[in-house]
Every structure is written in C-alpha cells, then in structure tokens.
C-alpha cells in the first residue's frame, strides 16, 4: 500500500547514443507505470540521422494525477552513454538520482564520466550495467533493461508490471530473447535492492497509485492517436510521403488501413500525396494525407484547389523547426500562418489544433466530419512534441463528442438543374459526388458560377468568395466555444494558448494561481477561423492578456490582437525543447503591468531571450 509520504511521481530521462536502447527502455517504463495506474507523458528526442549517431533521450514523466507537460527538470537520469549524458546533468533537480555504469569497458578520461558530474545534493548510483547484461543475455545490449531494473528497485516500484511490459514489448521475439531481457531487469533490480545504499527520497513503497479513469488505459503517441482517429472516422484513402515527424502516421495506416478496406499509397512526393487525397475526397471518399512544414509548403496549391472546388480532405501537419528542411527532430508551432493563410488568393479553410494525445484522436476524427459538412480541406496541426510524445489515454470515443457533431449536406438525385455551388445562408451547398445520376457538374480550380462553370465575372467572384468565407463563419458559430478555465471575475492575467503548448500554459496558470494571482485561460482547438467572443470576453476581464506559443514573435498573437483590439503580451519562443511551465510562469509573472506601459516589467526571461535571440516577451502593436 502506498504511504501518504510516497512521492506522487517523477521525471526520468534515459540518455545514450542513438541505438543504445534508450527509447526501448523508455517504452518499457511507460508501459510498466501505466499498468501500475500512473498517468504518463513520454517525449523522446533523437537526432535526425539514423541509429548510431548523436544523442538520444527517452523522457518520461509519471504522476498520480493528470500530466500536462513533460515537466521542468529531471528527477532521475539513467546514463547509458556517459559522453552524451554529461550535459543532461544540468537538468537535474536537487535530490535527483543518477544511475550510471560503474564498470565500463574502458577507463574514462577526466570529465568524460557522468559520475564525475554528480554534485552535492544529487545521488549517484553505480551499477555494472554491461556486466549484468552479459550475465543475463551474453551480450551488453540489455543494459538498458538492467538500468530499468536498477531504477525500479531503487525507487521501489513494483517489479511485476515491468516484467509484463518487457514481455509485451518483446512479444514478437523468441522466448530466449524475451526472458533474457526479463533476467536483465531482474539482475538490475537485485543489484539495486541488495547492493546499493539508498540515499535519495524517492520511495514508491512497491505500491501502485489509485487513479480513476474512463475505460481501460492504453499508451499512444500523438501520431498513433491521429492515425487511430483517421481509422475511426472511416478513412478509406490515405496518401503520404515520409517526413519527420509525421511518418509514423503513414506507417500505422499502412499496416491497418488495408485491413479496414482502405487504400494507402506512398507517393513520390507531397504534391502527389495531396493530389491523391483531394481526388479521392472529390470522389466522395474520406481521404487524408499527413506531412510536416516543408511538405505543407508544397501542398499549398492543391489545398487551394480543394478550397475552390470545395473538396473535403484532411491534411495533418506535424510541425517542426523551420523554415525549409529546418530542424526535423525539434518542435515548433510556426506553421500557423501557412496553415491558416498560406495561399494565393483568399483561401479560407479550418485549422484544428489538438492539445494532447487524446485530442489528436478526437480532432482528427472530427476533422473528417467538418471537412464533409463544410466541403473544405481541414488542417490538423500537430507538432514534433505532440506527434512523438506518449500519454496514457482512455475513453477516446467519448472524448471526440465534446467537439460537436457535423452532418454532411448531400444533394439527392433527380433534382434537375443541379447547382453544385448554390449560394446558401451558411455557404454550404448540397453536394453530389461525381457520377451521381442527374447531378453531373464541373469541378475546377477556376472561379465558377453556382453550377460550377468557369466564370470571371467580378460580382460572381465576390459572391463565391463570400460563400466560401460564410462556411467558415458558420463553422465558427457551430463549433463549441472554448470555456475560460481558471479564476472568475477580474484577472491579473488572461492566457491564450493553442496546440501542444496548452498543457504547459495550464500548469503555469496553476502555479501562478497558487501564488495568489487571478489567472484564467482560453485555449481554442479551432484556431482558424477564430471564435472571437471568448477571446474578447477574456480580454475584457484581464489586466494583461498573454498569448503563449512556440514560434518567433507570436503568429497566433497577431490573430488575437486583431480580435481583441489591444496589444497582448507575447510569450513566444523557438528552440530545441518544448516550452516549459516554469518558463511560462516566469515570463507571465514578470509582466504584471499592462503591456505598452513604459514601466511594465519585461516578461522576457534570460532563457527565452537567449533562445529567441530577440526576447520572448516582446510587445507588438497592432
């Protein structure tokens, strides 16, 4: 039984060279603690290159309560490679644990051993990882699982869930490999419990927490959840071209979609991929593609075609650092402008942004409904962090329902004089798929009249542009408005954020509320078109209104300023890692006065300034 004094969770980072098994060890840890009942968030970082190059880190945070972010700092560093792990010690919190191999095959030169960087206040534990791995498996590859055993034994997490997780993880391998890995875990466990003199504060008492959930928990990455959302929505045609960090969606669907009766095409490039999807969507099939920023840039013209021809299609964009090929394995939220506005001409289309893994499923699922109901391409913005992070999720089917339901408006056969683009109040015209008897119509990228025939008439162009924008207004009116969360009444701070940054913003708000500030936030999932009323309402209550996002200068902040008609505090930065709650809180608390006030304290932190180059809390005028 857990004692009241037991820790509520911890942040573990498993670091090594790519190929050392860090990610596999992290997966075992995720599975095990999820089985125990902890809430989990995992976020791995690895180099863009293939295995054997560079540093790779599996990052897992598990807690008794809902986990919103990977956490600031680190409670336990598992060092599978000393050279790469040394820089990780800078993240360690006071009282943290470092598990390292104290029997490496060669002596480390000075300052090449992570143990040498364990400073007072931390607790270093040497474990003969390679030796025990060799004892268990006749090879050193299982040292990652020896380390997991040592970790579990040291902090007294129950061993059986780990053994089950290992057997599950290596279920497709031979029994010899599977059980060898379990032996490796057990040797690490035994070493920790029998040989190590425990000095740290982490003791989970060999007991699992009691956590209430809806349904059975499973662990999914954002990409896996998005792929599941596609399947659950009835996707039948997926076309994609591999690109980090979206490739996993293609991989999952390549395995599962054909079994569901659908088709997956790996195309020669992104233009072809979206062309396939738009064609299938035009034909009346639920179709999708997924890409990242560089691919989305190539897809813009086909997106325009889908807007103009009013073709339902779902495009998932997992953002990464840019521009161009940029930073393939680093996270960023800098595709908002491209997704919402990147186009020739006026090309309105909805953009959805999930906040967590469960919402990757829910909003991808919902994107197909919206695409069909409003006859439009719909973009779903993930990012490297969200695509790759793993969370325990449950009750996925129920979660999507809170974003409303959207029915398709179909034309029925035999009406005669079919006007595919009939002007209606909400802009949505009854749609017929090609080949429907009596409802033949042209579909083109050229501006057209209500029947679909090309028209270069100015007043017609105005009417059709208005129609396409009316669809967006109708969607904004029907999509459930985001409710303000947090304090009621007048606010010291109002916070707006979107996508994967919502979690960190939420934790930051809680921290500030605990410090006595009146704080509330509005976190839209439909980020374009902008639902203006909730933003204006929050702004009216807030002395300072801040927009938190991960891009240079604040792309979404521009939208918010346009809506609320005042300057906002921009907590925006780019950099290698997801923005953390502590960093946001620090930026927000430094900006208690109205932006634009010459006496206002800057919201810029040293860290954000350094990473951003121009500062993270700059104030822009409209």
């Amino acid at each position: 039984m857990r004692s009241d004094a037991a820790p509520t969770g911890m942040v573990v980072r498993i670091c090594g060279a790519a190929g050392d098994g860090n990610i596999a060890a992290g997966q075992v840890l995720n599975r095990a603690v999820t089985r125990m009942g902890f809430r989990v968030m995992n976020f791995d970082s690895y180099p863009a290159e293939i295995r054997g190059f560079g540093k790779s880190v599996a990052h897992t945070r598990f807690e008794v309560e809902r986990v919103w972010t990977p956490g600031d700092g680190c409670d336990c560093l598992v060092a599978l490679d000393d050279a790469h792990s040394i820089s990780e010690t800078a993240r360690l919190r006071d009282g943290a644990i470092v598990i390292y191999d104290d029997r490496p095959p060669d002596w480390h030169e000075e300052d090449r051993s992570v143990a040498g960087f364990v400073v007072p206040g931390m607790h270093g534990y040497g474990v003969p990882l390679r030796d025990l791995s060799t004892l268990a498996t006749k090879g050193t590859k299982a040292r990652n699982l020896v380390a997991m055993g040592a970790l579990a034994g040291l902090v007294r997490l129950p061993a059986d869930p780990f053994r089950e997780a290992i057997r599950g993880q290596f279920g497709s391998k031979s029994e010899e490999i599977r059980e060898g890995n379990v032996r490796a875990f057990d040797l690490g466990w035994r070493h920790a419990t029998e040989r190590l003199k425990k000095r740290d504060r982490f003791d989970f008492g060999l007991a699992a927490p009691v956590v209430e959930r809806v349904g059975k928990a499973e662990i999914l990455s954002g990409n896996e959840a998005a792929a599941r959302g596609c399947l659950d929505a009835g996707l039948l045609m997926y076309a994609g071209y591999p690109i980090t960090p979206a490739t996993k969606i293609l991989e999952v669907l390549a395995k599962k979609l054909p079994k569901a009766g659908g088709v997956v095409v790996q195309t020669e490039d992104e233009i072809s991929a979206i062309a396939h999807a738009v064609g299938a969507g035009w034909a009346g099939t639920r179709a999708a593609t997924a890409t990242s920023g560089p691919g989305l840039s190539l897809m813009v013209e086909m997106l325009n075609l889908a807007v103009m021809a009013e073709v339902p299609v779902v495009v998932i964009d997992s953002q990464r650092g840019g521009p161009s090929t940029g930073l393939p394995t680093r996270t960023e939220q800098s595709d908002f402008r491209l997704a919402a506005h990147g186009a020739s001409g006026d090309s309105p289309r909805p953009v959805l942004a999930p906040a967590d893994v469960a919402e990757c499923h829910a909003l991808t699922f919902k994107a197909f409904e919206v695409a069909d109901a409003f006859q439009t391409p719909v973009l779903v913005l993930l990012d490297f962090f969200l695509s790759n992070r793993i969370e325990d999720v449950s009750g996925l089917a129920e979660a999507a329902a809170r974003f409303g339901t959207y029915a398709e408006k179909r034309a029925t056969a035999g009406e005669g004089g079919y006007r595919r683009y009939a002007l209606t109040d909400d802009g949505v015209s009854p749609r017929a798929v090609p080949g429907t008897e009596g409802l033949f119509h042209p579909a083109t990228g050229l501006e057209h009249d209500e029947r679909g025939f090309p028209s270069y008439d100015g007043p017609n162009h105005v009417r059709m542009s208005d129609k396409r924008h009316r669809k967006m207004a109708a969607l904004a009116a029907r999509w459930p408005e985001p409710e303000a969360v947090g304090a009621e009444g007048p606010l010291d701070l109002g916070v707006v954020s979107w996508g994967s940054t919502i979690g960190a913003a939420t934790e930051a708000m809680r921290a500030l509320a605990a410090r006595g500030l009146a704080v509330a936030g509005v976190f839209p999932r439909l980020i374009w078109p902008v639902q203006e009323r909730p933003l204006r309402a929050l702004s009216e209550r807030s002395r300072v209104l801040a927009v938190v996002e991960m891009n240079h200068g604040g792309q979404y902040a521009d939208e918010v300023e346009r809506v609320v008609g005042r300057r906002v505090l921009r907590v925006a930065r780019i950099g290698a890692d997801p923005i953390g709650a502590a960093e946001i809180a620090e930026a927000l608390v430094g900006a208690r006065k109205e932006p634009g006030d010459s006496t206002a304290e800057t919201a810029e932190t040293a860290e954000t300034a350094e990473r951003n180059g121009t500062g993270g809390g700059q104030e822009h005028g409209t």
Binding site: S113, P120, R199
Partner: protein, 341 residues
C-alpha cells in the same frame, strides 16, 4: 609554478582538506582546485552526528559552509567519488567509477576510519560504527525502535554518544574496553571519573570485560562478553577509536607506516604529493621520530601548512597544539594511535 595549468587535487573532505583547498585557492587564483571524497556530503561537523541520530539537530545544521562557498571560489567538489588507486608516475588518480583524474600536485587528507579490533572482525557486520553521516543516518532511521544501546570500546566519540543517547531516554550499557579510549588514553583515575560520570547519568558501566562476539537475533543483537555474560541490545556500537583511512594507498609506492609518512614540511616520499590531517604521520627531526595528531584544530593547521608548502613556502609543521582534550568534563592527553602494538 602555479597558474592556469596547475591542478591541485585534495583527497579528503574534512577540515584538513578544506583548509588546504582554501589556502591553495587564495594563493593561486588561476589554478584548478578539486576536492575528491567518497563521502557525498559536503564538509560537515562530525561532532553533531550523535545529535543527528537522536533528532536533536537536523541535517541542515551539519553543514559547515553553504555550497556557494566552494562554487564562489571555483573549488570543484567531487563528492561520492572513491579513489581506487593512484599512479604517481603518471600523476593520475583512478576513481572507482572508472574515471582518470589528472593532477599536478596532490594533498592527501584522507582522514581516519573507525577501528574494529581484529578479534571482532567476524562480527563486524553486526556492529554499528559512527564516523560518517551515512553511519548516523542509518542509526537515526531506526532510532525510534531502539531502546537499549551497548557501547563497546570507549573512544572520545563513544562517551559523548552515550551521553546523547542517555539524554534521549535510551538505556545505555557502556563496556569499557582496555583496548579503547583512543585517541585519548586516560589514566586509571580519569577512567574512573568517566565511568562515574556515565553512571551518574544512568548508564550501566561494565569494566574489566571485553566483547568476544556479536550475533544478530532478528533486529536485536546479542553481545557475548569474555566473562561469559551476554547482553541483548538493539544496537551494538563499536567505538574503539580511529585509524588512518589509507587502504587505497597500499602498494602505491608512497611510504606508509600506520599513516602516510611525511617530513616536517608534510612532503611525502613522492615528489609533488603532500599529506595532512589525521592520516599524516609527521617526522620530527629533533626527536627523530614521527608524531601524529587528532582534533579539528590540529587538522586545520596541518591542512594549511601542507597547502602553503605546495605553493612554494617551507613552513615546518610543529607538534600538535591540541595535545590535551576535554572529554565529558574530564581532561585527557591525546596519544592517538602511535603506541599501537
């Protein structure tokens, strides 16, 4: 000599080592200065360990200095890092976690460790010692369940520890071993005074007997005495004094006897290596003999002398300033372990 290329390494995290590091930093601002110790706790007051056990003080009271003291002076603390061996030819220290640490000049201030008489080595696992904060933490964590403590030996630490345990309401049996009372050697009158002092506080004092074996029975210990008597207790403490903690130097090429042999300038037999504090056995050319010392003040003074000589001075270490210590109100002369058979 000195400057950015210099790397002074001090082995030992006690008063001698820390004083040496301070002097070296002050005398050579550009050099690297590193303290290496197998203890994880930064420099702390060992005399408060007994109070840590009883709960009279918390760990926050133990630290001699804040961590910023070292960081401000750019003195690197390598704590929790055990020295396995030293290659004096290559000026390289081999740390137990398999890291090589180079130095240009080395000061050994390794201190001392609890002595357990050879006759009790077989029972060592069942005896409690109290030299480090780890020892004290281990005893503190179970002190609530401890009702009866047997203290065997009778060094300076033991008397004060017994007094603290009595004050905390524990039953104390104090077995005065003839082999004990190191580093102090009280005469018969002083020993009687100490025994009377302990009895007056409620301790049972056993004289003219000795421990021959200790056996665990559950969480308890059964202590067999030479007289045939047995004492059942919760903790069997071994307080037979201290010996230099220099096992890691065996076979290194450094001249050792009971401690590290050094000349009056605290130079060892190896060029570029000095020793100070409890572990040093200092030659007195006038007496043509070696002397040793114990106590905070002596160790601090020797640490300073060693560091000044490392920096190029020729300071001579004189005999211990504190040859007389007070133990529970009784004045005793220190002889440390020089007269060991």
């Amino acid at each position: 000599m000195g400057g950015a290329g210099e790397h002074y390494v001090i082995i030992g995290n006690g008063v001698a080592g820390n004083r040496a590091a301070e002097v070296l930093r002050d005398g050579d601002p550009e050099a690297r200065v590193t303290i290496v110790s197998d203890e994880s706790q930064p420099f702390y007051y060992r005399h408060l360990l007994r109070d840590l056990v009883t709960g009279a003080v918390g760990e926050d009271r133990l630290g001699v200095r804040p961590l910023s003291w070292w960081s401000d002076r750019r003195i690197r603390l390598r704590l929790g890092q055990r020295v396995q061996r030293i290659d004096f030819g290559a000026k390289t220290i081999y740390l137990a976690h398999r890291e090589k640490l180079g130095y240009t000049r080395l000061v050994v201030c390794a201190g001392s460790k609890p002595r357990v008489p050879e006759t009790l080595w077989a029972s060592r696992a069942h005896l409690t010692v109290m030299k480090t904060i780890e020892d004290a933490r281990a005893l503190r964590d179970r002190f609530g369940d401890v009702r009866h403590v047997l203290i065997a030996g009778g060094d300076m630490v033991s008397v004060r520890t017994a007094a603290a345990f009595l004050l905390a309401g524990r039953k104390v049996t104090f077995l005065v071993d003839r082999d004990a009372f190191w580093p102090i050697e009280p005469g018969p009158e002083q020993r009687a005074e100490l025994a009377a002092a302990l009895r007056s506080r409620g301790a049972e004092v056993i004289e003219d007997d000795a421990v021959v074996a200790v056996e665990p029975v559950g969480d308890a210990r059964v202590v067999a005495l030479k007289s045939g008597r047995t004492v059942r207790c919760d903790v069997a403490g071994a307080f037979f004094g201290l010996v230099p903690d220099i096992d890691f130097l065996a076979g290194s090429g450094l001249d050792l006897e009971r401690g590290v042999l050094v000349d009056e300038h605290l130079r060892t037999s190896v060029e570029g290596v000095w020793a100070a504090g409890d572990c040093a056995q200092v030659y007195n050319p006038d007496l043509r003999n070696w002397w040793v010392s114990v106590g905070w003040g002596n160790a601090e003074r020797l640490g300073e002398v060693a560091a000044r000589n490392v920096l190029g001075d020729a300071v001579r270490a004189t005999g211990p300033a504190e040859s007389v210590l007070r133990c529970d109100g009784v004045v005793v002369a220190t002889r440390w372990w020089v007269d060991l058979p």
